[in-house]
Amino acid sequence: MADVVMGKDKCGEQRLVSLPLSRIRVIMKSSPEVSSINQEALVLTAKATELFVQYLATYSYRHGSGKEKKALTYSDLSNTAEESETFQFLADILPKKILASKYLKMLKEKREEEEEENNNDESEDDEVES
């Protein structure tokens, strides 16, 4: 089985699909419900994945702040996953990042809130006793 589907030109000018079919097949078969995959479905899935990579990259670049810097960054991608319905299935694997310092601050604030609640409860008990 040819791993790469060759295009019409023998000088390798344009291949039909660049991603290795064997690897695509491994990923597809890791899905438990899938029994078998016909060769055409394999080729189309590989091609669709290439189109997807192009689409994700260009969409994220156009909508991202990286445009001024002429760069595509991780946050452009995670923004896309969060804001676009089409790419929402990626939200779990492209989580937004926050600075560690901000996260620690959030934790601290939460802890202080909980402490305050506990203090209120204790003073209520005192009132009941007296």
Partner: protein, 120 residues
């Protein structure tokens, strides 16, 4: 069969090339962004396969075929992929047909040659 984590990843070089060709010249892609897109691509394969498989099951088939993949693209809001995919499918079918005819012709020629050798 257990797959090692690397086996579910796509080759970095190919992914990088596809990204570069899609973006305007001179745009930098951070390593993190590249790796994220690669992971996203693997997830896309699973997502598309799972959806295509539903269509196969609806049709009471155990083998995923081309039309299942095309139906999945429509279902998952990637209609923009349908036309280029159909073109790719046509090209692939023509190529397969060409290969088949070429190998059949080769066999015919070979048989002819063997016949003439025996006669001589």
């Amino acid at each position: 069969m257990a797959e090692r984590p690397e086996d579910l990843n796509l080759p970095n070089a190919v992914i990088t090339r596809i990204i570069k060709e899609a973006l305007p010249d001179g745009v930098n892609i951070s390593k993190e962004a590249r790796s994220a897109i690669s992971r996203a691509a693997s997830v896309f394969v699973l997502y598309a396969t799972s959806c295509a498989n539903n269509f196969a099951m609806k049709g009471k088939r155990k083998t995923l075929n081309a039309s299942d993949v095309l139906s999945a693209m429509e279902e998952l809001e990637f209609q923009r992929f349908v036309t280029p995919l159909k073109e790719a499918l046509e090209a692939y079918r023509r190529e397969q047909k060409g290969k088949k005819e070429a190998s059949e012709q080769k066999k015919k020629d070979k048989d002819k040659k063997t016949d003439s050798e025996e006669q001589g």
